[in-house]
Amino acid sequence: MAASTQEIEAGTTPLLAAGETHGSLTACISALTLQRPAGRIWPAAFTLAVLLALLLIGGIGWLLVRGVGIWGLDIPVAWGFAIANYVWWIAIGMGGTFISAALYLVRKDWRSSLSRYAEAMTVFAVSVSGIFPILHLGRPWFFYWLFPYPNIMSAWPQWRSSLEWDFFAILAYLIVSILYWYVGLIPDFATLRDRAARSAVARVYGFLALGWRGEARHWQRYETLSLLLAGLAVPLVFSVHSMVALDFSEGLLPGWHSTIFPPFFVAGALFSGFAMVLALGIPMRRWLGLEAYITERHLSNMAKMMLAVGLVVDYSYVAEIFTAFYSMDRYEVAVTLNRMFGAYAWVFWGTILFNVVLIQLLWSARVRASHTTVFLISLGVLIGMWLERFMLIVTSLYRDFMPSSWGMFYPTFWDLAFLAGSVGVFFVLFLLFVRLVPVVSMSEMRKLVHKGARAAVGAVETPP
């Protein structure tokens, strides 16, 4: 199984081991959920995640009592951590959809083993991201006022506001990504139903499988739907993160009011999403023993994709700085100089370090072959992308047009608690997913097994 670096780079290493059959694949993947091999890592990680999640729940309780003032928000910086966290999380979700849907449309077989957990990551990241704008409303219990419904106030939402667009974007994205994930899960739930030893377990998975039997014409409709959903999901990724960017571009602040923002944000979203797929995949593959399905070639391909989209992000940084100076708008220039040399300069240079400098290591095939290094670079990218959002939000707000309205932002304990707590909630969901749902799509992988078997037969029949 030890493939040389050259083979991995050439993309000629097989995606599946030669002896893999339908039976061995099903047995291996479904055992992860049905037998749940014991280990110490899962309980430890789950406990930690639950503690962090409890911190978030406590924080939300305190926020409902005291209001958003428990965060370090004030005028002029009224958009601190909450919006940075929101953009960071929803961006992470984008990468999962992109890997699953875009690579499906271009028929890249190596997506098959990555799609399931990437989609799960999307659903959880988008769910976590939605918490922040709602809490940031100030009176979160009225968040449904964003929804157009007949009401006794005879009021309608303001359709010209990008914040309203954003509400529709998140709503559509959350529901579509859940549907996309669930439709992919139906045949796998049927497998678990048929293999469960205990009838209670079989009932639960049977309920979730909706009675799936795998009839040929059922598969035909299912395949049509999968293709159409993938085709819908790709433009959705681009549109949703463009809407997030429009929250900023529609504002008149220097550093925000820019047409580059939608594509720049989409690139950043894919960048952090790929980083999260790698940061989750590398440890998961090792602890669950998925080396046969998530191979060296998968990790190398993912690292290359992260580097490629990272370079687009880096180009956007250059374009943004160039545009600011080229415009000769004194406020744009001032904001750019403030970002680089002002009070938050360390955030800017931290972003550059993680998102521009460190990813250049991925040009080397030897670095890409080292899982620890790729894992650490991915974590760096996640930190770097968070810093970038913090930089975009805070450095545009803390010094705007009037020196009389300048002011600093300092995070409070609760700011940090909400960030850590959101990571906790994400991992509670992800760790439950690892235990309860097949982490690799069995029905997708069976197509690869089938293809492999046919290729082997063909090779025997037609000697060179």
């Binding site: 157009p148 359709w159 549907l179 049977g206 299912y222």
Partner: protein, 179 residues
């Protein structure tokens, strides 16, 4: 000569190729019975080899997209022009470019919802119980086995002829499916 309570006859195969071959041969038998094929993953060409039934998923996706997009745009237009006109800085009430983003998002949502619903309705799901689940061997239809089901069309089902035909296919096993 349909046996009472017989839902159909189920033949088990060990490979996708054998199932495709069996379906092709079942179609050569004139009006044998309703043929259904079950597999753990989609097999290219198998659905086309069976009697084609309408696949309305693409149409549903189109209708869902149109309903979601036009419906949202109409709601925006009605609320901003008729029910709740607000003059802010002299902007036109019907600000169509600003109405597009929510309409686009709802287009995608409507398309996806309609597609999933059409797939489920077309496949007769959810249906938690089915006579096939009574056959123990059918458990492997979601794992590594491939099944051909012959089922009476309108009561006139010669179980003996159907069974002897299935035997010519040399399946791993033939089971009776009871209603």
């Amino acid at each position: 000569m349909s046996a009472p309570g017989l839902y159909g006859l189920l033949a088990e195969f060990e490979s996708a190729e054998r199932l495709v071959d069996a379906v092709a041969r079942a179609y050569l038998e004139p009006h044998l019975a309703v043929v259904e094929a079950y597999s753990p993953f989609p097999i290219e060409g198998l659905a086309e080899a069976l009697s084609p039934r309408a696949n309305r998923v693409p149409l549903a996706v189109l209708l869902g997209a149109v309903a979601g997009g036009l419906g949202t745009y109409a709601l925006e237009w009605y609320s901003a022009v008729f029910d709740y006109p607000l003059n802010i800085g002299g902007r036109p009430f019907a600000s169509w470019p600003a109405f597009l983003p929510p309409a686009i998002e709802m287009t995608v949502l409507g398309a996806a919802l309609a597609g999933v619903i059409a797939m489920l309705i077309g496949n007769g799901l959810p249906r938690l119980h089915h006579p096939l689940f009574g056959v123990p061997a059918f458990e492997r239809a979601s794992n590594d086995r491939f099944f051909l089901l012959l089922r009476p069309q309108r009561g006139d089902f010669d179980a003996h002829r159907a069974r002897s035909f299935l035997e010519t296919l040399a399946p791993l096993a033939i089971s009776e499916v009871r209603t």
